[in-house]
Every structure is written in C-alpha cells, then in structure tokens.
Symmetry: C2
Subunit: 759 residues, 2 copies
C-alpha cells in the first residue's frame, strides 16, 4: 500500500516539483522519506475523500502545504460514485449536510431548513487535569519515533507512517483514533504528530481519507471528556481549534474494561455508584494507568509541544525546514531597488540609512525615503514627536504628479495639545515636494472618537491650526479588538455549517463585510486623492502598523499595477507589512499558546480579504489568482517559512531569518505558473483600480472562509477545465476577430488610466 | 440642436441598425421622424446624464427600448469631468447619493450611514378628484399633436420634440416640468407623451439629460399635491410607479398668481385664510382654470390613456408598431420541429393535434406529445380529471435514457379523494415509456399544506396508493401572492437608495433569494432525477401555469444545452411559457389600470432571475448575456412586441398577434451579436448544469434590480473593454498554449456530461 512512488505527492508535500535530483537514497540529511510516498496522492481535508485523479489541480493547491487537500483545487468526487452522479448528488444536497434529502419524500428543505448541529459533540467539559500528568509511561500506542527520519536511508516506512517534508520528523503515532468530521461523520484511522504537522489517515475509504494540519495553524488544544467518565462512542478525545477557521475533533478509544463497566452500569446502578467513586478518586489522583489514556495524553503533549514552540523555548519549524527551491524568495525585495523603481531619489526625495542600526525607530526598516528638505536632525526631532519614533516616510510616489503616500504613527499631542515645529515643517516639506497641490491630506485611519481618546494616552492627531494647508480626515476603521471579535463571529456562522435561511442576516451581524468596506473605502479615498486630486496623503492610525499598513498597501495596489504582479505583490507585502513592522508574531501568535492574547487580531487576513475583493471586481488586473492569496494566508500560520515570523525587520535580522529559514516567496516564485491568472491582461498595469465599495458589491470570500465545507469543492477535475479553456479560447479568438474588425471601423479614443470593475 | 442625423440614435430607438434603407424622406407611413435625431444619442435614465461617446455600448443596451439609457451598457461619466476623475468620484461616493462625502471633512460614512430619504416627496396626499375633470380646455401647455408624425415627411421637428419609433405618435408635450431624480436631484425640462412612451428631456446638462419610459411599464399614476394647496418647490406633480422597480416623480410648475399668493400668505396670514377657503371651494368644484393645472391634468390623462389601453378599450401599441426586422421572430418556434429535435415521435411517444381547436384544453397549445399507449379517448378522460383539462403532456425527453419531464395541473381529487383509473393508467404509460426505471416521480411544486388545502376546492394531489410506483414530492414553492409581496419588499430595499449598513438583513427580510433558492432547488431536483436517476418526472402545481412553467423550463435549461443558445432560449420561452398558457396578461397586467389586481405576480421575472443565477455560475455555458435577459424583461412590460401579450396560444391566435404585431425574437435574432456572450463555449451544449443552490451561492441580480442607480453604471466605455479583451485574448492564447502542452503530456479522460460552476 505504501510502496508506490508518486512524484505528485512529493510535490505536494514539498510544494515543489523541480527537485528531481533528490533521489531515493537520501544524500541530504532530512530527505530520506521524501521518496517513499503513497500511491494515492490527494489528501482530503474538512471531511471528504479525494479523487483518484490528482494531477495538476491536486498538486497545485497543495503547494500551500497547510491547506493540502483543501477543497478548492482538488476537484474530487467521493470515491465510488461516477463523476456526473457525484455532481448531481453533491449539488442536490441543497445545503451542507443532507445527502439523502433529495431522495427522501417530503424531505425537501425550503426557506426554513433546520440548522444542523454546530459540532459533533461539545467541548465544554474538558478535564484539564490530564494535562499535568507527566508521561511516566511511554505506551506503544503512541510510538516514540524521534529522529527516525534522520540519516536512516535504509529504513523502510511502516504502512501507516506518512511521508514527510525535509526536516520533518515523526514524533508519534496513535492508532484507532476517530476523526469526527462535521461533514461526513466519524472516520477511524491513525493520527500522527510530527514536529511540523498533524496527519490523520483513515483507510476506511478508497482512496484513504487524509487530513494534514501544520501545527502552526493550531490556536488551542482542549481535551474532551474524562478517561473514565466519558461514555458512549467518541465522547473522549481532543479538540483542536485552528487559526484558519476550522476546528478538529478526534476521539480516542476507551478502555475495554471501562467500557464493560459502562455496560454493567446500565444493568446495575450500584456498580455505577462504585465506579463513580473510583473515578473521582482516579480523576484527581495520579494513578491513571490505562493504555488508552496514554494515547490521548501523548498526542496532546506532542501537539502542545510542537504547536507552541515559542511557549516551550523551541525554534520554529521554519528553522528546520530544508527544502531547496530554485528561486530564492529572500531576494525578491530590495528596498533601494524598489525606491529606484518608483523613481527615487528625486529632487524632493532622498534615501536615508539613518535607521540602519534601528536606533531611531526600532520597528521601522533600515532604509527610508524622506523629503530632501529635511535634515537628519529634523528626522530625529520629528521622531521624538511621533509615537514609537515612527515618522512619516515615503510609501509611494505618483510617477507623474509626484503626489505621495507617506505613513507614520500618531503625533504625541497629548491632553495639553503639544506641538512640534519640526513635525509641522516636516509635513510642509512633504506637501512642498508635490508641486501639483497646495494642500495635503492627513488620513487618520481611526474613528475620530478614538483619535481624541488617544490624547489621554499621550497620542492624538494633528490639529489643523498647527498644520497649515493640511486637512485631517478620519476613516472610521475600528481597532484590532473589534476585528478579532468580528472574525470570531464570522467563524461561528461559517463553520462547520451554514444556516441557509438566516445566512445574510447572520453574515451582517458579524460586521465582517462592514469592516472590509470601511478599510476598502479608506484606501479608495487615499488613492483618489493621490490620483484624481494630485494631492499627497499622510496616513496614520495610532502606532501605524495595523490599519496604516492596510491602507497604504491597498491604495498602492489600486494605484500601481506593479503590485498586482506576483513579484510585485511580494514586494508590497515585504515593504508595507514586513519592513514597516506589522507585528506578525503578536497578531498571529506564532508558536504561542496564549490563545486569548489580546494582541492577536486578523489585521493581515482582513487586508488579504480586501485584496480579494478588488481581484474579484477586476479579474483581469491581477497576475495572480486567489489561490496565491490563500497560500499566503496558509503560510501566515504554518511557520514553514521564515517570512512572517517575528515582529519587525530588526528582529528578523537578529534571528538571522534570511539565512536560517526559507522565504515563502521561494515557494511562490518557484511555482509561479501555479498561481498565475489566465485572465490577466498586462496592459492593466497602467490602470488605476477604483473598486466599488458599497455593500452590495462586497462578497464573503467563501473559497477561503468556507473552504472546509465539502460543498465548496469543484465539481469536476481541473483537467476538464483546461479542456474547456481551450474551447473558450477558440470562441474568444473568433469573437475578438470580429471585435477587431469592428474596432477598426470606429474611431478609437485614448484609453483612460482607470479600469472598470466587473461586478 | 436637432438637426444632426446619427444612426446610433436610430438604432437605439428602433432596436435595429440594419435598416439603412429607411432614408430620411419617409416613404413608409410612420417613419418620417426616424431620421431627425439629435446629435447626441445616449439618454440618461434613473437620473444621470450620459457620455459623449455613445457607440456600441449605448446603441446596444438601448435595443431594449424600454431601458434605453439604462446604466448597464452606456458607460458614461457625467458631463464635464474627464473619464478617470469621474470614475474616482463616482466610486468615491462610497454609496449612492453622497457626492461630496469624499471631500467633506469627517463626512465619511462607516458602518452606520444614515439611510437617505426614500423619495424626494411623499405621494400620500394625492388628490384623485382631479382625475374626473374632463379636458374641457386643451391648453397650449400640453400641445395636442396627434397624427403629426404620420405622412408628414416635410415637417421639421421642433427642438424639443423627440424622435419616434415607427408607429409612434406624439400625443402631447408639457414644458417646464421638473423630473425629481432621486440620485442627481431635480432636472427641469420637457415631458412628452406618445402613444408608446413617456419622454423627458432636460437641456440643463450637456449632453441633455434624457429619460424614456415605455408606457407599458407603468403600473400606477398618482397626482401629488393639490393645484392650490401645494407650496414650495416641486411639491405639485405626478408620481409614476413602474413595473421595472423604479418610480418617477415629476413636478409641474405652479401658477405664478398662486405662487405670489403663497408669498403674500407668508406675509399676511389673513390672505392665506381667504386663499384656503377659495381653494377648498375650487378643489371640489369644477372651476380650476389655471394654465399649470392643465399641464398636469393633460399629462395625466394622456398617460392614463396610453399606459392602460386595455382599460380604455384601445389596442396595445404593439399593433401599431411597424418596424421592419430582417429576422422574423414568429418563426423561431415551431412545435413540431421542436418535438422532432427532441427525437419525437418515438415508439413510446406520439404527437397529437387533438387540441387543434383548443377544445380539450383552452389554455394548452394545439400540438401535444403524449404517450403512444394512450388513445385520444384516454386523453379526454384524463382531461376530465385534471384541473382545467391540463393533462400531463411532454415537456422534454432525455436523448439517451428516454426519461421524461411531463407537465400538468393538479388532479381533481377533492375532499372525497376521487380517483381516475384513466389518469392512473396514463401516469403508468408515462412511466412505462421509460424502460430505464420502474418508478416515476410526481413533483408537486407547492408546499404540502397548500396541496392538501386545495382538496377543499376540488383539487389536491396524487395518492401514492392510487398511483403505483409513483412517489410524490413537494417542492415547497409558494404561490403568486407570496412572490408579489416579496418583490414589493425587494423594491423597497433597492430603490432608490440602498441602506449599506443593513443591506444584507434587509435583503434577507424580503425572502426574494429564499424563493429563488426554492425554485432553483426544485428544478435541480427534477433535472437530477431525470439525468442521474434516469427516472421520469411529472411536474404540476395547482393549475400548472406558474410554478410548473418555472420548474420545467429551468430543469430543461439545465439538462439541454440547446435551450442555452439564443434561439433555443426563445424556443424554451415560446414552448414552456407561452404555448402552455402562463397568463402573461394577467400576471403582468398588460395595459390594465387595476394595479392592485391580485392576479399580478412576478412569476416570469422570478424565472428569469433563476436563469441569471445559473448563468452567473456557468458563465461559459450560455450563448447569451444577461443583457438579453434584461431586454426580455423590459419587453415583457413594454407592449412594443406582441410576444408576451394575452394569456394563451388560443387568445393570441384569436387576436392575430402573429400577423398584426412583431415578435420580440425579431429584435433579438436581428441583433444577435449584441446579446452574444464572448465567453460562451459551444461544447457546453452537451453538459448538464447542476447549479449550486445554497444561499451563499445566490446573489441579488443587481444589474437588473439596482440598475436605475447611477453607481451601477460601467466605469468605462465599452470600446475600452473590447481593447482589453484583445489583450486578454493574447494572454489567454499564451496560457492555453502552455496548458495544451501540459495536457498532451498527461492522460486525458472522457469529459463528463456535467459542467462545473464558477462561483
């Protein structure tokens, strides 16, 4: 069963197909298992098994590593049904979970179908005492296999051992575990834990059911049911809460003797009483000896260990991952090169290395572009008046009008209304650098009440009395706590089941799209000022690393088609998010077990969602597809790559991230073809995109938020799509020929810079 | 101003460009004005003025006649702003009505923008007494110009007289009328009424603002404000409620003497008191003599006359419309040819002309396909047991399995549970005609409670005891009254303004998408039974002409790609809707002034909406675009074509519709290129489409329901689109070449019959 070698699987796990040179006899240290792969390559996730034809589609989606087998790319009907029947029954479900409704008489749900149960069983009564038991007994159920993959080329894998990525090590395997899939029901199989992933395989279906979850995605692990108290099938196990919307439930087998005792209890209530006493004693004592208990305990311990390395003073898996990619993603962004691309230095803008040692501002990058009129001393004085020294520096300059977008943190105005002549002069320099306008906008991302409230903490916003020719506008975007709560609500209405009859109002109640609209509107306003009014804009929020990053990056994406290419988007993220100190580690909580940390917030996810909204409205203006966005989000959590680790450029330099880990852009640039948008028209590079931002033009990104639901799956294998594309292309060719003739017969006008949304 | 001749305008009004032979000197009776068109051809509707470059786009959209100048096709920035600024400000509005919000400090609406006023003024206090005044005085304000366009080729049009379609006559013109646009505010201009349209033109903008509404679209006309009581600007006029979602408000100028009296009133309350007495007297008497009063009265009378010809025993305008089209749409559907296309007659199915004189069933067509095993006598006996004689006859037969879709009305079971051996045998014949299955489904479109309730009225549904091998399923689709109320609510939340912050919950509360989902799910279930289970399905509701038509037509559209071509769709409508007696006249209320008639219901609109939902999910599977669907809906109301007039084939024969009116398909087939979908892939003809029907895969068709809102307008002229298409095509070619190579390297499988949704 495990003897077949299939390149697709290799590509899937490694996210790369080009490494044919890594052959089976493992000359490099961590790759001994990479050749020993299973014969069937697709893996199921979210509950549905995968198809037998895993080609381009399966291989492509799975580059993301953490979303391997995710619904969007695999296009797999359930095993055993012919493809066209599958689609019918799939669709005939009419909702998420009712496969038999089509055939059941009167079973048709109309407007008010009952909401399916949220989860197979509740996780409220978890016994956290188990957690503190040490592993005094290494059970055979959880096989301790540390280091087994290292320099052991001659060893053959056991049938239920999963293939690993280079650097990955199998840490333990628990058998007879049941995955409680909320969509297709329980699946019995083997749960393996590595230093990178959790892998569950069930041979119950053909092809086997598979689930892979990088441990970086885990937010919280809870035990469900006590070893001796839990009765009934699947009531004893663990629940894993993930950062990517889904939750996973596993049930561990219970002790036979306990089970028989349960049976006895049914017949003899006195036995039950004795049992409860014994349990209570055992539950709070230290004498749990049953084998099954250890299965869960070992799994939990290994999971906690590798899911939360930061809490255990362990390195992230990215530091052990040793895949080789033909492209080196670390070189995609060179700050000077990007500034030069924008035309810098100019008469009015200079490049400074004043922060090379991160002394002036530790959360800012080493290289800045600042007004030429401002001396280094001016910069130091301005830094003293801006929160955390985050002074206004250049994000983007218009190639024609020289109107700019600059970003910073709030001014330290305070309750007394302090002023800084240097800061005021500096803003004036920014304005003066743009000869086209005698005005400058200061866009404060916050609601105005929050901006005012910040004065009490020493912050605040620019007074228009102090800043001549400046107009302050508030963009009403709420803070990280509001966004976190909104996503929590969104998860509740998306996963695992959607209540069709209240979907729209439930969605509205999450306010997720409201927030998206607000961020998009703010960015649109900035882009509009710069493009249409030729006026420079200074953007800030409180610290200038959350909402500000969203706004500058989104407005730059609208204004500059370069950022809509694959390498350009990488540059945009490296520049506006990573180098300017969006606190990825804090916001995501990489490797940290404090799942309730108030610093966590889906700020970056929200940004990517906004990008998707624009992409959806301008499908021909982006070189990449939404698959790339999903892959980026998956690796935001996976900790497979060094890209999103730590909070600032400075920290990444300290940790030698560039030399000790691999960049996510290595994966993406090495597999560029997989993320390319066939509809991309490169002449849109010169267009400015002004997306529609009213509510009815926004959609929930269901391919991301609802992807664990099997009903999101494609209805046909991807190669069928390709065939269709060929035909579409022929049709298009004919049509375009006609249009070309028609065009020739008409007068053509100059193409405006602004493209139109397809809504 | 009116001297220019522009072919586009001609094409716009007539919906045809090919008629170059109709030259300026009007040899045919009604065309004398067709050459005398304005130099600027685009017309605004819903409030926004149109662009100066009205080419393909403007001409194309306007084929619909009744939606001329509608937003979707014209791509027109407001006059005076350069195109790219326009898009910016257009979009920057962030909502429907706040053009200054971007520039206003703190004016940014976030989550909770206040809902704009629904309409400029309320229509509750209309004085219906005016209605009864006869036109004892033909005022010069409303110029009586009847017949002026007939055989008067030498006459030149006055500058404010609109160009007319052949057969159209100018009936009157009122000057100094103000159109109260809910989006761009009041526009002063000239209101003309013809025997076909209402035309409003305002020269205030350049190009002039234009609004054209075929009178067939008018549902209700109300006067707003009394002639003497109304004070303040624009408080006196008429409000026109349309069947296509929008309402129009016009204000008529008030008498100067009255106005001065108002002024006096302000200064001298005693004058006001005197005035009120005088008014009350005048209001209920017959002595209204002021000129302005006549303006409104004449307009109202002309409108009532020509908007409601059926109520005035006048012919529909379709009988006067005398455009010439190269294609004759009446020949698109030949019942026998369509049955032959489906492979009939077969061993098991015969074609009968038993209803040639519409004697067996007056609402059914002349030609039926019935089971060969049933004799003519059997048919008569079955007709006696089915509501209104609507017996099960063939709608569609599967080309391979021979599974069929048949349609009928409910059986006359009644409270006593009557049975008919003939009906039972007949259903058995239908089952037996399909050798693939030993079962038959009877899909009752109604909720089961309604089906049961119908027994009290002599109807009911098939008992499974009586019908061997039959399984009855209820599809839970509500009746015409529920749908009418749902659309009314939808209009409230769509027009004129959308409340962004409650859009989703407001939309949900209309239940419009719930009903769409229900209809789509029902059709999907039928298609699934026929395609995947090879089982025949009998479909009925109560009378079998509303929900049944929706279900059979939609399932046929899913199953048979022919119906997804332009002529095929025409055949589908002619067959399943027109020939089988959907009561278009009653449901739409053609030419009838009883706007509260309970027989009206948007059943056909709902069907077209369902078609759009499928088209949206399968953009490459339809030969036509949504523009064609919108055009069809516009002419559902316009009464320009004979197609949708009357309730049954029999009535249409009686009224000689085919010889005395033009078919809508003449317009569409003669301008096929305008409705063709560039993404159409003809190999999808062989695919079965199974759309997703869960709520999150359904959208509001905003290009139809929200089209009067200027924010729905395209952001760029269509010819720019075409340019882009050229570039996309090049990109696609390259990509397809790569894919082709890749495909060659892989094993290809047989393409399944079922296509995949793009969601």
């Amino acid at each position: 069963m495990f003897s077949g070698v299939k390149p697709d699987k290799k590509s899937k796990v490694k996210g790369i197909t080009q490494l044919g040179s890594r052959s089976s006899s493992s000359s490099s240290s961590h790759s001994s298992n990479s050749n020993t792969t299973r014969s069937n390559s697709s893996s199921g996730s979210g509950g549905s098994s995968s198809s037998s034809s895993s080609n381009k589609g399966g291989g492509r989606k799975s580059h993301s590593g953490s979303s391997s087998g995710s619904s969007s790319g695999s296009g797999s009907p359930p095993a055993g049904t012919p493809p066209h029947t599958q689609m019918a029954s799939h669709e005939s479900l009419n909702s998420e979970s009712k496969s038999s409704s089509l055939n059941s008489k009167l079973g048709h749900e109309s407007g008010g179908s009952p909401s399916p149960p949220k989860s197979a069983c509740s996780s409220t009564s978890t016994t956290s005492t188990d957690h503190h038991h040490t592993n005094h007994q290494v059970s055979h159920v959880l096989t301790a296999t540390s280091k087994m993959t290292v320099r052991d080329g001659s060893r053959t894998l056991r049938p239920d051992e999963p293939p690993l990525v280079p650097g990955e090590q199998l840490e333990g395997t628990a058998r007879e575990v049941t995955y409680l899939c909320p969509y297709v029901g329980p699946k019995k199989g083997t749960l393996s834990v590595t230093n990178y992933r959790l892998i569950f395989r069930s041979p119950e279906t053909d092809p086997p059911f598979e689930l892979e979850v990088p441990l970086g995605v885990v937010s919280r692990i809870e035990k469900v049911g006590g070893a001796n108290t839990s009765r009934g099938e699947n009531s004893y196990g663990i629940e894993i809460f993930c950062k990517d919307i889904r939750n996973l439930r596993f049930a561990h087998k219970q002790n036979d003797s306990q089970y028989s005792m349960h049976l006895k209890r049914d017949m003899n209530i006195s036995v039950f009483r004795r049992y409860r006493v014994r349990h209570n004693f055992a539950g709070y004592g230290a004498s749990q000896t049953s084998e099954e208990n250890h299965s869960r305990r070992m799994v939990t311990e290994k999971l906690l260990h590798y899911a939360f390395p930061a809490s255990h003073k362990l390195p992230f898996f990215a530091f052990g991952y040793c895949e080789q990619y033909p492209e080196n993603g670390w070189s995609v962004y060179e700050p000077i090169a990007e500034l030069k691309r924008q035309g810098l230095p100019t008469e009015s803008w200079r490049i400074t290395r004043i922060n090379e040692q991160y002394e002036l501002c530790e959360t800012y990058p080493a290289v800045w572009a600042v007004p030429a009129a401002a001396s280094d001393n001016d910069l130091r004085n301005v830094a003293a008046f801006r929160s955390r020294g985050r002074i206004p520096v250049l994000s983007w300059i218009h190639p024609e009008s020289q109107a700019t977008i600059t970003r910073c943190a709030q001014p330290l105005v305070g309750v007394s209304g302090k002023r800084s002549r240097d800061d005021e002069a500096y803003i004036q320099h920014i304005m003066d650098a743009n000869a086209q306008s005698h005005k400058i906008f200061i866009m404060d991302a916050r609601p105005s009440v929050n901006a005012v409230a910040n004065k009490a903490k020493g912050g605040g916003y620019e007074s228009e009395d102090a800043y001549q020719n400046a107009e302050v506008q508030f963009l009403d975007i709420h803070n990280i706590h509001v966004m976190r709560e909104s996503l929590r609500k969104l998860q509740e209405v998306c996963y695992p089941h959607i209540d069709n009859s209240h979907w729209l109002s439930n969605l509205e109640a999450t306010h997720w799209l409201d927030h998206i609209r607000c961020v998009l509107s703010g960015a649109l306003r900035i882009a509009d000022k710069v493009e249409s009014h030729k006026t420079s804009v200074v953007v800030h929020c409180s610290d200038g690393w959350d909402r500000t990053a969203q706004l500058t990056a989104l407005s730059m994406l609208m204004l500059d088609g370069y950022y809509r290419t694959i390498p350009g988007f990488a540059v945009l993220l490296e520049k506006e998010w990573l180098s300017f100190g969006h606190k990825f580690a804090q916001r995501v909580g990489h490797g940290d077990d404090r799942h309730q940390d108030a610093d966590r917030s889906p700020v970056f996810l929200q940004f990517v969602d906004c990008v998707w909204q624009i992409l959806k409205q301008f499908p021909h203006a982006f070189q990449f597809t939404e698959d790339m966005l999903i892959t980026i989000l998956d690796h935001l959590y996976s900790c497979l790559f060094g890209t999103f680790l730590y909070n600032s450029e400075r920290e990444r330099i300290e940790k030698e991230v560039k030399t000790k880990t691999i960049s996510l852009w290595s994966l993406i640039l090495s597999n560029k073809a997989d993320f390319e948008n066939p509809l991309y028209s490169s002449n849109t590079k010169h267009h400015v995109l002004f997306p529609r931002t009213s509510m009815r033009h926004l959609c929930l990104w269901d391919k991301y938020y609802c992807r664990w639901n099997p009903s999101m799956r494609q209805q046909e294998p991807v190669h069928i799509r390709y065939k269709e594309l060929l035909h579409v292309k022929e049709q298009l060719e004919k049509h375009v020929d006609e249009l070309r003739k028609e065009l020739a017969a008409r007068q053509t006008h100059d193409s405006p810079r602004v493209a139109s949304a397809i809504v």
